[in-house]
């Protein structure tokens, strides 16, 4: 437990107790962006919460570019500020979670969150706002959008929604969010990273050991936070935060690892929350703070040819593995896709949903090593993404959004397939 971090803060601010807002910043070598972020946060606090008791805490992963000094200098005497090491005394970084590095782009990010949660718990903060210091596009109103639902509307968890380009976040839109929605009945965008708001109640849950130890600790915090909040019945909100401009991005090069972490977390928690999701039949929207916005019309560059080739190579080389994982009729459907030409390639949505559900069951059954299982889903995911892009290439933004929504409803509609196989496998 990061007792030393709390002691450091108490030394600086002895009477710190029952504060309104704790602003937490996981940082690592962010000299280029941190001043902009802090300026926006301070402006937001002055504008929306001038009378609130606030502390800004940066949990630093060992910056070598003077980030901690910059933080202190930028804030000065305007608000109480403390910089603590991300991994405080008595806390050990999980050696098996080294692969989280490139996903979040920041070493010890998860440990930073844990330290911040502990300090928020100890200081009995009403809300804790965690904002990644590497985001250039932080606006003053983010503070309001993330804090107000907790302070005034009884929200426990405020997840971010960013304005994105077409097809951006395809893993989230095509797999993680629809699966989460079908399982737990909450229509949440499930976008990872950037900024979050937490209530004191959720923080008390988040500091518990079970989320940081064992297999659960292998996954990046962004991938399990939403699942835990929804599945355990916390009051979940979303905040429309606008654009997210970040230097480090989990781009196409990391797809296999990103998929392993994101999908692995959902599959992992399916075992724990089986009683919750088995009973859940319908989905409902979650409240949103901030004005809604549409998907940006311009699309990112996607090389569908390479994706289809990735799928076809998977079909050629990973077939013995897929034979173990997939149900016979699912495999039959996938084998038929290999016959299509690249231009006419299509991966039907119901087949994709069935594939994902088969993988979830195989993950639970541990039919092969779980890391291998998750990574072997990559070619199939590439195939489905390519299919979606090809299907909606000439379509407008609304049509693409409708296709994504159709994906979500298909996951919901086919949930009985999952439940049946899960129970009787």
């Amino acid at each position: 437990m990061p007792a030393a971090a709390w002691e450091q803060i108490q030394e600086q601010y002895p009477g710190l107790d029952k504060i309104d807002i704790l602003i937490g910043l996981p940082t690592f070598n962010l000299a280029a962006t941190i001043e902009t972020v802090l300026s926006a946060i301070l402006e937001g606090l002055d504008r929306w919460f001038p009378q609130a008791s606030v502390i800004i805490v940066a949990a630093d992963g060992g910056s070598k570019d003077g980030t901690p000094e910059l933080i202190k200098r930028s804030i000065g005497n305007r608000r109480p500020v403390a910089v603590i090491p991300a991994i405080a005394n008595g806390m050990v970084a999980n050696p098996f979670a080294i692969n989280r590095l490139s996903y979040s782009g920041m070493p010890a990010r998860e440990e930073s969150f844990r330290s911040l949660f502990m300090i928020a718990e100890q200081s009995r903060a009403r809300t804790c706002i965690c904002i990644d210091g590497g985001i250039r596009s932080v606006m003053p109103d983010w503070v309001e959008l993330l804090a107000k639902p907790v302070l005034e509307k009884d929200a426990d968890y405020v997840a971010p929604v960013f304005r994105r380009q077409r097809y951006e976040g395809s893993l989230t839109n095509g797999l993680v969010a629809p699966l989460t929605r079908a399982l737990y009945g909450k229509r949440i965008a499930g976008q990872a990273g950037g900024a979050y708001g937490f209530s004191g109640k959720l923080i008390s849950r988040c500091v518990q050991k079970d989320l940081w130890e064992g297999e659960a600790a292998r996954f990046s915090i962004d991938t399990w936070l939403t699942t835990v909040a929804i599945a355990e019945g916390f009051n979940v909100w979303q905040a429309s935060l606008g654009s997210k401009i970040q230097d480090v991005k989990a781009n196409g090069l990391d797809v296999s690892m990103v998929l392993t972490q994101a999908v692995g977390a959902v599959f992992h928690y399916m075992e724990r929350y089986q009683d919750v999701w088995e009973k859940q039949a319908e989905s409902s929207a979650v409240p949103v703070s901030g004005p809604p916005f549409e998907v940006r019309a311009e699309a990112v560059t996607i090389n569908t040819e390479r994706m289809v080739q990735g799928f076809q190579q998977g079909l050629r080389d990973l077939l013995p593995i897929w034979e173990i994982i997939l149900a016979p009729d699912t495999l039959e459907g996938i084998l038929a896709l290999g016959l299509a030409e690249e231009d006419a390639f299509t991966f039907p949505l119901p087949l994709w949903v069935q594939t994902v559900y088969d993988f979830a069951i195989a993950y639970r059954e541990k039919v092969i090593h779980r890391d291998h299982l998750l990574k072997s889903l990559t070619p199939l995911y590439l195939g489905r993404t390519a299919s979606l892009v090809l299907e909606t290439r000439g379509a407008g933004t609304e049509e693409v959004e409708r296709a994504v929504e159709h994906g979500c409803t298909t996951f919901e509609r086919m949930k009985p397939y999952l439940v049946e196989r899960w129970r009787f496998q």
């Binding site: 097809y167 781009n251 196409g252 560059t301 190579q313 998977g314 593995i321 092969i368 072997s376």
Partner: protein, 232 residues
């Protein structure tokens, strides 16, 4: 003459009876050891199989690729059954040798001590072989998936090479452990392994230097790839 003949007959008969009387307990001991071997071996087999079942050993072997490897090799029993059977035969052979030793035949005088002395090597060799097979399958599968996800042509070939590399390495270790032609095994392994590394170095140096340079340049200079898709 008649008396001498009778005496010789009686003496022969007595000697024979004495020998039989001496050998019978030894034979009984052999039969007892064999029976005990069957019973103790059976009990140990049953106990082991139940323990392995309780700890889901078969599922573990399935995940690690050992069970599929055994199936491919034509073994129809499950790994837990196989280990139980192996334990049975080890115990039975152990008792059988004790029985043979009890016969006190000149040819088998030191058999038992020799067997007992060699047993640790056999156990170590079996353990090394088992771990080696598991590692070979696990590494082969991991490399195959990684290579496919990286869209490397010849992913299966690379995975097969890795798998067989580990198997050859394991086989060399097993033979060394058993003390079979130690020098030859080490020399053969060095030649094969060195040959593979040299062949790969030459292949990369001559055939793939441009690709290697481009790959390194891409990695070190972090060139922007065509695909800008953010998956998460």
């Amino acid at each position: 003459m008649n008396e001498m003949w009778q005496e010789a007959m009686v003496e022969g008969y007595r000697e024979m009876m004495r020998r039989v009387a001496l050998f019978l307990p030894k034979l009984m001991a052999l039969l007892t050891f064999l029976t005990l071997g069957l019973i103790v071996g059976g009990v140990i087999r049953m106990f082991l199989q139940r323990v392995l079942k309780a700890v889901h050993f078969d599922a573990l072997c399935e995940r690690m690729g050992a069970a599929p490897a055994l199936r491919r090799a034509g073994v129809k029993r499950s790994p837990s059954q196989l280990i139980g059977q192996l334990a049975f035969w080890i115990v039975f052979v152990f008792f059988a040798f004790m029985g043979v030793d009890a016969l006190d035949l000149p040819a088998t005088t030191h058999l038992m001590s020799a067997i007992v002395g060699f047993l640790p090597h056999v156990i170590a060799a079996v353990f090394v072989a088992l771990v080696g097979i598991l590692l070979a399958n696990f590494s082969g599968e991991a490399v195959l998936i990684a290579a496919v996800n990286a869209q490397i042509h010849g992913a299966r070939l690379i995975a097969t090479l890795v798998r067989w590399g580990v198997i050859i390495f394991t086989a060399a270790m097993v033979l060394t452990q058993l003390g079979i032609a130690k020098e030859i095994v080490i020399a053969a392994f060095s030649i094969i392994f060195g040959g593979i590394v040299l062949a790969m170095a030459i292949a990369l140096g001559l055939g793939g230097r441009i690709i290697a340079r481009e790959a390194l340049e891409r990695r070190l200079r972090r060139e922007k790839v065509n695909d800008e898709l953010t998956h998460i």
